[in-house]
């Protein structure tokens, strides 16, 4: 048991170490130099710069980007930035520090995706296990649900999101079409603001929940169809144990194990996956911030977000690994 936690923790450290190192190397192998790119951007607007000023500018930019000194000291610099969460100032929002930009957008991302993942995972798995258990004689309501999910599942998310936007924001103007809260609203912990935030989050959340529920539903259905044919389920049926007990105590608890694993795998897709949502619904978040950082070559912000998401995703996986023994006694007692 102690060995299990220790190995997982070690794995976490190795993953973070390797990916940070990899990011460091890849960035330095890029053919374009961020400093030259910034200078070129400034000069391309037609601003005249004194060559000595340019020289000074290059030096301060190098310092700002952590590109000063030998490769080794740059490498240690990267680690220092990550540990102190001080990634320097952002260029496109100069002089706002990168860390405060991340802090602001990560709130919306985690809030939205946390709810989406929790809700869709729960609903999808519960419906999936019922459909899987009764797969030989599926009740009509379940058959209909299965069919609907089968149709929804292959729809690309950006199309589904647009359908939601057009339907519930334009044709039936029930929900706002963009932003995280109304313009002119003062963020604060009061009822009217919270309701406003929930209203704005409804469409992005619902569209993602719908699609991800179908995904969890279908994989859970397949897994629990298999578990339903296991000897211990058949024997429980012979014993006359009630169906709902068999579904939740026998099928669900066993079929859940691979679903916990794929949940932790899906954490990795969080930051990229929310990008389309953020663009379609103009919702603030890490994905959109990263996108605009790339578009404006905001070097510090890109590195900041990438390093941050590496640590966040690995940490999430680590937490899931740590609670996994709660689901599987075979690990708890090995």
């Amino acid at each position: 048991m102690v060995k299990y936690f220790l190995t997982r923790f070690l794995q976490f450290l190795i993953v973070v170490f390797l990916s940070v190192t990899l990011v460091f190397i890849i960035v330095r192998m890029m053919p374009s130099d961020p400093v030259e790119k910034t200078i070129a951007q400034i000069t391309s607007t037609g601003t005249f710069l004194d060559p000595s000023d340019v020289e000074k500018m290059i030096k301060s930019l190098r310092e700002m980007y952590g590109l000063e000194g030998s490769i080794l000291s740059q490498y240690f610099q990267t680690w220092r930035r990550l540990i102190t969460l001080n990634f320097g100032p952002s260029l496109s929002f100069f002089p706002t520090p990168v860390s405060s930009i991340i802090k602001e957008s990560v709130f919306w991302t985690v809030g939205l995706l946390g709810v989406v993942i929790l809700v869709s995972w729960t609903i999808g798995n519960i419906l999936g296990v019922i459909a899987g258990y009764y797969s030989k004689k599926l009740p009509t309501a379940m058959k209909l649900l299965d069919l609907i999910f089968m149709i929804i599942r292959p729809i690309p998310y950006y199309i589904l999101a647009f359908i939601f936007l057009v339907l519930f924001s334009y044709l039936i103007p029930a929900f706002p079409s963009q932003g995280a809260y109304s313009v002119g609203m003062m963020p604060g912990f009061n009822l009217s603001f919270i309701i406003d935030v929930l209203k704005h989050a409804t469409l992005p959340a619902l569209s993602m929940i719908l699609l991800q529920t179908t995904m969890w539903f279908q994989s859970m259905k397949i897994i629990s169809t298999g578990v339903t044919n296991e000897d211990f389920v058949i024997y429980a049926k012979y014993g006359g144990i009630s169906n709902h007990k068999i579904i939740f105590r026998y099928v669900f608890r066993n079929a859940l194990l691979p679903q916990v694993t794929s949940l932790s795998l899906s954490l990795g897709r969080i930051f990229g996956g929310a990008l389309i949502t953020e663009i379609v619904f103009s919702y603030p978040g890490l994905g959109g911030t990263l996108y605009s950082a790339i578009m404006s070559s905001d070097y510090n912000l890109i590195i900041g977000i990438v390093l941050f998401s590496i640590v966040a995703v690995s940490l999430g996986t680590l937490v899931l690994d740590f609670i996994y023994p709660l689901f599987d006694p075979r690990i708890r007692y090995s």
């Binding site: 058949i234 024997y235 006359g240 066993n254």
Partner: protein
């Protein structure tokens, strides 16, 4: 002593009806089986793999799931002097018989224990289903005293299945099936996949339970050694039919059916260096059984009548039934 009947089948027929790409395929796994099992006896059913033994058990336990189907005949349970035709009562009533009256130790019972539950929770689920208004503690108490009665360590109730050995899991499954003292216990190949020492322990456990609870055990295995060791009476099954039925001694000492002889003479004995002979050929396909006596293609004594007519299961000696034309002819000749 008049022994009382506890379970009976009448001309039971159970087929598997498969639908393979729109083509129907019928596997006649149990064909016209009529057996009568008495209270307090150990009844053995023997036969090669694929002769319909497990199908017969499932039909007797009334746990028939598609593609298996009951085509005809009856299964009668006799409980407290009353007879119940199992396939003419509702599913709910049928479930009430389980564990109280009849219970089942399945084939490959290594994997019948839910891997994510403690043994005592599994016991609780089964006991709870069949008893009313008992607290959790009372239920655990029932499980614990039963485990202790069987001489198994009571600590295993707190274990998870993966922490136990295969033999222990098999014994736990037997304990689970007998926890509510059913009148009939059906055991399907309880010793298969166990090493000989563990086999011995499992057989002993079944015998102990029988001695303790005075119930009926129906045991199915292809292992004639196990039958010799346990059973009071033995039925030999071939291609879905019972072809011989007699007391254990009678079967071993005076087998009448040629197939039974092959079965018994193939058991190795100490000091006997003669070459063992088994029945030539392979068991017939149940989807397309041979005409007449289904053993005739492999029988060295087969004659014209064997190929044309199915021999009836007839009692030739008290308690010794055989289905064989040759025995019938011999009987007529001596008469």
């Amino acid at each position: 002593m008049m022994s009382v009947e506890v379970l009976r089948t009448e001309n039971l027929k159970s087929y598997y009806i498969l639908d393979i790409f729109g083509k129907k395929k019928v596997i006649k796994a149990v064909e016209d089986v009529s057996i009568s099992i008495k209270e307090n006896e150990i009844y053995g059913i023997a036969g090669e793999s694929g002769c319909g033994k497990s199908t017969l058990l499932k039909a007797m336990f009334a746990a028939v799931e598609p593609p298996q189907r009951i085509i005809g005949g009856k299964v009668i349970y006799r409980d407290n002097g009353k007879e119940y035709d199992v396939y003419h009562i509702s599913e709910e009533e049928r479930k009430k018989f389980r564990w109280h009256f009849i219970s089942y130790v399945p084939q490959g019972s290594m994997s019948v224990l839910n891997p994510v539950m403690k043994i005592k929770e599994i016991f609780k689920d089964f006991i709870e289903t069949h008893t009313k208004g008992k607290t959790k503690e009372e239920i655990y108490e029932i499980a614990e005293s039963h485990i202790r009665d069987l001489g198994l360590p009571s600590g295993i109730l707190d274990a998870y299945p993966h922490q136990l050995s295969g033999g222990m899991r098999q014994r736990i499954t037997i304990a689970l099936a007998t926890v509510l003292s059913p009148k009939v216990v059906i055991a399907d190949e309880p010793t298969t996949a166990l090493d000989v020492v563990t086999q011995r322990g499992v057989i002993q456990l079944l015998k102990d339970i029988q001695a303790l609870k005075r119930n009926t055990i129906i045991i199915v295995t292809h292992d004639m050694g196990v039958h010799a060791n346990m059973a009071d009476r033995i039925a030999i099954m071939y291609a879905g039919r019972i072809i011989e039925e007699a007391s254990t001694e009678e079967i071993f000492e005076n087998p009448l059916h040629p197939y039974t002889r092959y079965l018994i003479y193939s058991i190795p004995k100490f000091g006997d260096k003669k070459k063992r002979e088994s029945a030539p050929g392979a068991p017939p396909s149940l989807s397309n059984p041979p005409s007449g006596c289904s053993f005739h293609p492999r029988c060295p004594f087969a004659f014209e009548k064997c190929r044309e007519e199915v021999p009836p299961l007839k009692e030739y000696k008290v308690g010794h039934k055989v289905a064989c034309w040759r025995v019938e002819e011999g009987e007529n000749a001596t008469a």
